[in-house]
């Protein structure tokens, strides 16, 4: 069986500056892979290339063995790949609940059935559970643009799960999130991973979170992978300490 995600010699440069410079790795089903690396090492750019937000300069991305380079984000999403964003990306004028329903509705039925079917595309209960979990109940009817930073971050994460994805790419989900909530989030990710065999790739600078969640960690620096392995191995790798963790 093919790996869930295969990246082969991916390059992306912006006007001569190589942001991603020959990255290759594979992610197997059910893995939780962490990606760390200094600021500007190309982590977000890598995600953007994988998810079709950016066109890679060269290289190939395969999902379930199928080449997906050049596919649009919405088509990738239809294959069961979803993501969160580093900077806040919600629908500011929609309520929290509508944000969540919007996030999942394209996975329910056909264009036709969505026009004539129920208003919430049958996603109401799922959305409510999500709201409950992310402790957003008291703001469920509030417009998303009016939430605090951390709340929006959580909403963004919640949205990524509405479509029941098989592969989720999370870009700094912990930034600005309260530590207690973060613990819950980690448990939740683990649970989903266990029950549905969903696969996660997580970019994060919060070492506690990465090290306690991930089964494998990749370290990116200047657009290349400089180390990978188990959390412990990576943490003690001198190259990583020099480039990222610091003395």
């Amino acid at each position: 069986m093919a790996s869930v995600l295969e990246i082969a010699d991916l390059h992306k440069s912006f006007g001569g500056i190589a942001a991603v410079n020959g990255v290759s790795f594979t992610v197997e089903e059910g893995e939780i892979v962490g990606i760390i690396g200094p600021n500007g090492s190309g982590k977000s750019t890598l995600f953007n290339c994988v998810l079709g937000q950016l066109q890679p300069t060269s290289g190939e991305v395969r999902i379930d063995g199928r080449v997906t380079t050049g596919m649009r984000p919405c088509d990738l999403n239809a294959l069961g790949v979803s993501r969160t964003f580093q900077l806040l990306q919600v629908f500011p004028e929609l309520t929290v609940r509508d944000n969540l329903i919007a996030a999942g509705q394209e996975h329910c039925g056909t264009m036709f059935s969505r026009l004539f079917g129920p208003r919430d595309a049958g996603l109401g209960p799922v959305a409510d559970r999500m709201i409950e979990f992310f402790r957003l109940s008291h703001v469920a009817g509030e417009r998303a643009g009016r939430l605090s930073y951390g709340q929006q971050k959580l909403l963004d994460a919640a949205m990524a799960f509405m479509g029941g994805p098989r592969l989720v790419l999370l870009d700094e989900p912990a930034g600005g999130v309260n530590l207690t909530m973060l613990g819950d989030l980690r448990e939740r990710l683990r649970a989903i991973n266990r029950e549905r065999r969903s696969t996660f790739v997580v970019i994060e600078h919060n070492m506690d979170f990465v090290m306690s969640l991930c089964t494998r960690v990749l370290v990116l620096a200047e657009g290349r992978i400089i180390a990978q392995g188990s959390p412990d191995a990576v943490r003690n790798d001198p190259k990583v300490i020099e480039a990222y963790l610091g003395p």
């Binding site: 998810l51 919405c74 964003f85 629908f91 919007a102 394209e106 208003r119 919430d120």
Partner: protein
């Protein structure tokens, strides 16, 4: 909450009754005006979908009304019945609107506004210059009013009901679509296309759909415009008309279901009541629009909603104490 719903329900009921009784107390010119209001409101509803819900600035709605009107007029001249011609107008505008949507995939905001503006000018020039087809600057006159099942809608009163009926139909359809997941998809398109795309919303398809449906509705409005006014000339569909439709949508309240009805009423019915303003109506209207934009860019519906919200908040605060 309940009281607000009650107020709204009563208001709606009163409006329906008043409109239904229209021919009893309105004079023919007023019937004509209300019919024109209905037709314009349909056109504005289409624009409201494109602009208010999907967030795509279009200055081409007037051109679509024109295309629809000429289609109906020409097809009827060629011997087709009203209803097939009416349908053809909508279908044609759907197709053209779909095509016009393509630039919207590449550019946004003011750029898009100018692409659509260019389109409006082109349509105007075509209508004016291609005399063999459209009779050019001389216009088309003597357009027949429709007959349905042996019932002729020739008189002002009958055609009035016809226009209002069709408007109600479109209002209902629009309501249904907006509250369906499609409506939500249009809105996320407006709110954050990047995020929408990554959530599987096919922004290309929805953008094109928003344009196509909005344009088709405009085309249908044109299909009614032709038999209502019974005279078509290119000037009626120049840029100014598109701009005034745009103003109507915004003044009424973009992104509100009833916004276009209110906006069209302000632009079409109100001048009749404010006869004393005579030559200064446009001046006053423009000034009022500016004040409204500064005060409440959500338009008149937004204004009333805000007023209600404030009242509710005051009531709630009173309850707390």
């Amino acid at each position: 909450m309940a009281s607000a719903g009650l107020v709204r329900g009563t208001l709606a009921a009163v409006t329906v009754v008043v409109l239904a009784a229209g021919p009893e107390f309105l004079r023919p010119s007023q019937l004509y005006l209300v019919s024109l209001w209905a037709v314009t409101a349909i056109a504005a509803m289409g624009l409201n979908l494109t602009l208010g819900y999907a967030g795509q600035i279009s200055m081409a709605q007037g051109a679509f009304v024109g295309i629809g009107a000429y289609t109906v007029a020409l097809l009827m001249q060629a011997g087709l019945g009203f209803f097939p011609a009416f349908l053809a107008a909508g279908v044609l505008c759907f197709a053209v609107g779909w095509l016009l949507g393509y630039p919207a995939l590449r550019v946004q905001h003011h750029y898009l506004a100018f692409v659509t503006l260019a389109f409006t000018t082109l349509v105007y020039l075509l209508l004016r210059n291609e005399q063999w087809l459209t009779n050019g600057v001389y216009g088309i006159s003597g357009i027949q009013r429709p007959t349905a099942l042996g019932f002729a809608f020739g008189t002002a009163a009958r055609f009035y009901y016809f226009c209002l009926g069709i408007m109600a139909l479109f209002l209902g359809a629009m309501w249904w679509m907006i509250r369906s997941p499609w409506g939500r998809a249009f809105m996320v398109l407006r709110e954050n296309p990047v995020r929408a795309l990554s959530l599987g919303v096919d922004t290309r398809r929805y953008t094109l759909l928003a344009f196509a449906i909005g344009s088709a509705v405009g085309g249908f409005a044109g299909g009614l415009f032709a038999p209502l006014v019974q005279f078509l000339e290119p000037n009626s569909f120049s840029l100014g008309y598109s701009l005034s439709l745009l103003l109507m949508v915004i003044v009424g309240g973009a992104g509100y279901l009833f916004g276009p009805l209110v906006g069209a009423a302000v632009a079409i019915l109100l001048p009749d009541f404010l006869r004393f303003t005579e030559g200064y109506y446009l001046l006053l209207y423009a000034a009022a629009v500016m004040v409204l934009m500064a005060f409440c860019p959500q338009g008149l519906i937004g204004l009333s909603e805000r007023w209600q919200a404030n009242r509710r908040a005051r009531l709630a605060a009173g309850g707390e104490r």
